[in-house]
């Protein structure tokens, strides 16, 4: 997989803050001249990864190679890499010229050459007439340009950009995206770009690295990532999508929303539970009964600038999002179909909550540092067991009373007829919950599991 001469190669990188692991075994290479984007929600570890590359952090495990040399222990000021910081970090006591010249002055470059290079790089970022300006008097976009110039003037091997456009307004952001892309083409320098904005990532990148919870989820071109997300997280994070529970009957035949469809995916086996992704622009309206695969009733229709976004209730009781250039009136009955090409089938990451548990007494089992009542027939005290709880058998409460443990909702996935929630407990463990109740991300919840819903089994081996 690794090309012959990657400019940066990251091997087995893990990072801990105290006991908390923020990066899990990251392996990644960056080709010379590439525009690569680390994409993920806040707290996914993307900025930590960038700071490790820049040298502001030392890796707990693993190493970072630049041109084949391990730079893990090289301090940031000896790395031929430069960073454009979130909120720019311009030096407030220096003017534009001195900010840009900062790196060269430290290298004791002759004054005449510094001046030449500052002029050149300021021209590159279209800030030629601003040399003497106080950086605090510049607009956000102008400060951004100075920050880029300040990094580029040192001719770094790799330019690191940490959410550089996050503080700009929408219009400015779009303009700067185009300029960044052009700059990248013109300079031929490798860019490593961090963002949480999927649209920005799709627009700018040659390669996108999607991250979540300290792990790389998928690496690929923007088109790969959009069209063939490997799991529900990526599908949900990149673009709008309908993510649904489905069942693969056999190769090229899948069922979801209680209908059967042809698809192009193979190799999942027979009668296997899967996740199915259908992009909202890939569900088509038709007036031809022969083409119609299922019918639905439009329940909302909103104009979104270019297209209309409609929510429909299918004849089988699922809710789907559809985007189309033509609106259909609310309340109307419509006929719909999906091309086999547009159905993306993904392996389910999990079907059940499954915990390492221990029988502590008859009728009592302990997992997630908490004791639960359940049927322990067939097991003796002290046995190590596996405790499994179905997603829809976990009750969420909006208070602590009667709850076995508490946590916060960290992710919500709408699956057409229910919500699939990820709850992070106080201790940092995850529980997944299927529910029809509406919660918000960040909500504090009490978690309750009834004794009859905990199923124990013998631990077979380390993993399945």
């Amino acid at each position: 997989m690794t090309p012959k001469n990657p400019i940066i190669n990251i091997e087995g990188l893990s990072q801990f803050y105290g006991d908390k692991q923020v990066l899990h075994d990251i392996n990644l290479y960056v080709r010379k001249g590439e525009f690569i984007t680390l994409l993920g929600p806040s707290g996914c570890g993307k900025t930590t990864l960038l700071r490790l590359i820049a040298g502001f952090l030392q890796p707990t495990q693993g190493r970072i190679l630049l041109d084949g040399n391990d730079i893990s222990d090289v301090p940031p000021y000896r790395r031929p890499l430069n960073t454009v910081f979130q909120r720019y970090a311009l030096f407030p006591h220096l003017d534009v010229y001195d900010n840009v010249a900062f790196g060269l002055k430290l290298q004791k470059v002759p004054e005449a050459e510094i001046e030449k290079r500052v002029k050149k790089v300021l021209k590159l970022v279209s800030m030629s007439d601003y040399e003497d300006r106080d950086v605090n008097s510049l607009s956000g976009g102008q400060q951004q340009r100075v920050a880029i110039a300040r990094a580029l003037i040192n001719q770094p091997r790799v330019l690191l950009l940490d959410e550089p456009l996050a503080a700009l307004d929408l219009k400015m952001r779009k303009d700067m995206q185009i300029e960044l892309k052009e700059m990248h083409k013109k300079l031929g320098i490798t860019f490593i770009y961090v963002t949480h904005d999927q649209e920005e990532a799709l627009t700018l990148s040659d390669t996108i690295v999607v991250m979540n919870e300290g792990r790389i989820q998928q690496i690929g071109t923007p088109i790969d990532i959009y069209n063939e997300p490997v799991n529900a997280f990526v599908a949900d994070f990149i673009g709008d999508s309908n993510i649904l529970n489905g069942k693969m009957f056999r190769d090229r035949r899948v069922a979801f929303i209680k209908h059967e469809f042809d698809c192009v995916d193979e190799g999942f086996g027979e009668n296997v539970s899967v996740d199915v992704v259908v992009r909202p622009e890939d569900i088509y309206f038709t007036t031809d009964p022969a083409k119609c695969q299922f019918t639905a009733k439009v329940n909302s229709c909103i104009f979104k600038g270019v297209h209309y976004e409609m929510w429909v209730d299918t004849d089988t009781g699922y809710e789907l999002m559809i985007q189309d250039y033509d609106p259909y009136p609310v309340g109307s009955e419509v006929m719909l179909y999906i091309d086999p090409d547009d159905i993306q089938v993904m392996k389910k990451e999990r079907r059940l909550n499954s915990f390492d548990a221990r029988v502590v007494a008859e009728g009592r089992v302990s997992f997630l540092d908490t004791e639960f009542e359940c049927n322990t027939e067939g097991f003796a005290e002290g046995d190590a067991v596996r405790a499994e709880v179905r997603f829809d058998k976990v009750d969420l409460l909006d208070h602590e009373e009667g709850a076995a443990l508490t946590g916060n909702i960290v992710a919500i996935l709408y699956k057409g007829d229910h919500y699939h929630l990820t709850v992070k407990t106080e201790d940092g463990d995850h529980i997944w919950v299927d529910t029809n109740d509406i919660w918000d991300k960040g909500d504090f919840v009490g978690i309750r599991i009834l004794p009859e819903d905990i199923k124990l089994s013998i631990v077979v081996s380390a993993d399945e």
């Binding site: 820049a54 040298g55 502001f56 301090p75 940031p76 000021y77 000896r78 890499l81 430069n82 960073t83 910081f85 979130q86 909120r87 720019y88 970090a89 311009l90 030096f91 407030p92 006591h93 900062f102 790196g103 430290l106 290298q107 300040r150 990094a151 040192n154």
Partner: protein, 267 residues
């Protein structure tokens, strides 16, 4: 509403009059030759003349006290500013228990009354057999000044863009260069106000100096006045000295204030 505003003004001015009465009193009686305060023997600038020509009894005592006061204040606040700024940067980059511990320790000298600071340091120097003099007084002053520097620099750190230091490293500055070229300029306002506060407190200190100056006859203005007053007669030249000091401080403060209000007008 009018009545309320008027009453408020009167209240403030009454307080100020009471507050300034002793100072005005000193200033008035600096223009007469009488030894004790409150004894008017006709207008004269003799005391001012004495002060400047040094022709007074025990002139060397008073002058060296003034000199000591300034030297000690300067040395202590300079060291406190460096020590406190570094400490503030350190504390700012700490988390959890370590941060709480250091913040707690930093608060102790501010909570402790002067006499406790003085007695405890006196016992320390006795215990360690350190002979007391300039050095011990300066160390003692650093002890009660540094916490205020830390408190003045910390808010500047939180106002600062957290990445500025790293940006300097990223552009090739060593940690020492980054400190000098980037952090110090950004923290300068906090360092200056910390320095001024330290200087003032050092100037005004009596109790801590009293316990840590030892027996070598080291006097600052405070201990000089105390000894003088206990002996019964204040050196009369103290009156013009205090008057001049007051006018100096008044001028400096007015200057700073006018400059500040000009700056804020500009913005």
């Amino acid at each position: 509403m009018k009545v309320k505003t008027f009453a408020a003004r009167v209240y403030i001015w009454l307080l100020l009059i009471v507050l300034y009465a002793p100072i005005v009193f000193i200033a008035i009686f600096s223009f007469t030759e009488a030894k004790s305060l409150g004894n008017w023997t006709g207008f004269s600038v003799q005391l001012y003349q004495n002060l400047f020509t040094g022709s007074m009894q025990n002139s060397s005592g008073l002058l060296s006290a003034v000199q000591n006061t300034l030297l000690i204040a300067l040395a202590a606040s300079a060291v406190a500013t460096v020590l406190g700024t570094l400490a503030a940067i350190g504390i700012f980059n700490m988390k959890g228990r370590r941060r709480r511990t250091l913040t707690f320790l930093n608060n102790i000298p501010m909570i402790n009354p002067d006499i406790i600071t003085g007695v405890s340091l006196f016992l320390l120097f006795v215990f360690l057999h350190i002979s007391q003099g300039y050095l011990t007084v300066i160390l003692a002053h650093i002890t009660f000044c540094t916490p205020y520097v830390v408190l003045n620099v910390l808010p500047k750190l939180s106002q600062m863009n957290p990445n500025v230091y790293e940006a300097a490293l990223d552009l090739g500055a060593t940690p020492a260069q980054a400190l000098w070229k980037v952090l110090v300029p950004a923290l300068r306002p906090g360092m200056i106000s910390g320095f001024i506060l330290s200087f003032t407190m050092s100037l005004d200190d009596f109790a801590v100096t009293f316990f840590t100056r030892g027996t070598i006859g080291l006097d600052t203005l405070s201990t000089y006045i105390y000894a003088d007053a206990r002996k019964g007669g204040l050196t009369p030249e103290l009156k013009p000295l205090m008057t001049i000091l007051f006018l100096l401080v008044l001028a400096v403060l007015l200057f700073i204030n006018i400059r500040q209000s000009k700056n804020s007008d500009k913005e």
